[in-house]
Symmetry: C2
Subunit: 131 residues, 2 copies
């Protein structure tokens, strides 16, 4: 017996805006959008260009409005791998989308880059490029 | 250009213990275990029994030790779908693994059940069974 990790739920102030940011980051599309239930985004299951098989379909991300603002560092965060750019190029792109650098106590020696989304949710851009 | 969501990083007090719990919940296996870097668990890409195609490979989960304890409700949480049991059976199994019921202000009318892992990280068990 097991459960499947089907959705990563993200509390936020602006579901539509934050979903747009993460769609641009991950190349996802909006699957459902509803004032009461929030916004659901999902990666495409189609075969990526130049590949002979579909890539894995990640869990959906769901964005639900909550009254409380982001305060302390999140206990869970996403780690990302650039798929078609090196780390510096991808960080530059993400900053252009509305991300900002985040200080979570890193020393500067790490191989990853810590960023935060427009609502302050920390995430990391890893150095390795996806195969 | 896009980034891929490759890892969900979880801060914790006991990486090995929490990784064991989540392996049992999700049917994952430990991929790497290291005192400095924590524990990485991943779903198997093999074809599930009785299925004619491999299921999606979720992002890895990584568990890293942090000094601060869990305090407020997490801003990100996992939503799970039982794969081979109904919701009540799966909740019963998860409680046996060390989960407990969590109160995040739900009314009791929801279709999902809110639980927390042994370190208090909230997650939900959804009502629908995976196809």
């Amino acid at each position: 017996m097991a459960s499947k990790f089907t959705e990563l739920a993200i509390d936020c102030a602006d579901p539509a805006g934050l979903a747009r940011f993460w769609c641009a980051v991950l190349g996802y599309e909006v699957r459902d959008e509803d004032e009461a239930d929030g916004v659901v985004i999902i990666g495409s299951p189609t075969v990526p260009e130049g590949k002979d098989r579909p890539g894995p379909i990640p869990p959906m991300l769901t964005f639900a409005r909550v009254p409380e603002a982001k305060s302390i560092k999140n206990r869970l965060h996403l780690d990302l791998n650039p798929t078609d750019a090196d780390q510096a190029e991808e960080v530059h792109r993400l900053l252009g989308l509305g991300a900002r650098h985040a200080d979570v106590g890193q020393t500067g020696e790490e191989s990853w880059v810590c960023l935060a989304d427009p609502e302050g949710n920390e995430f990391c851009v890893l150095a390795s490029r996806c195969p």
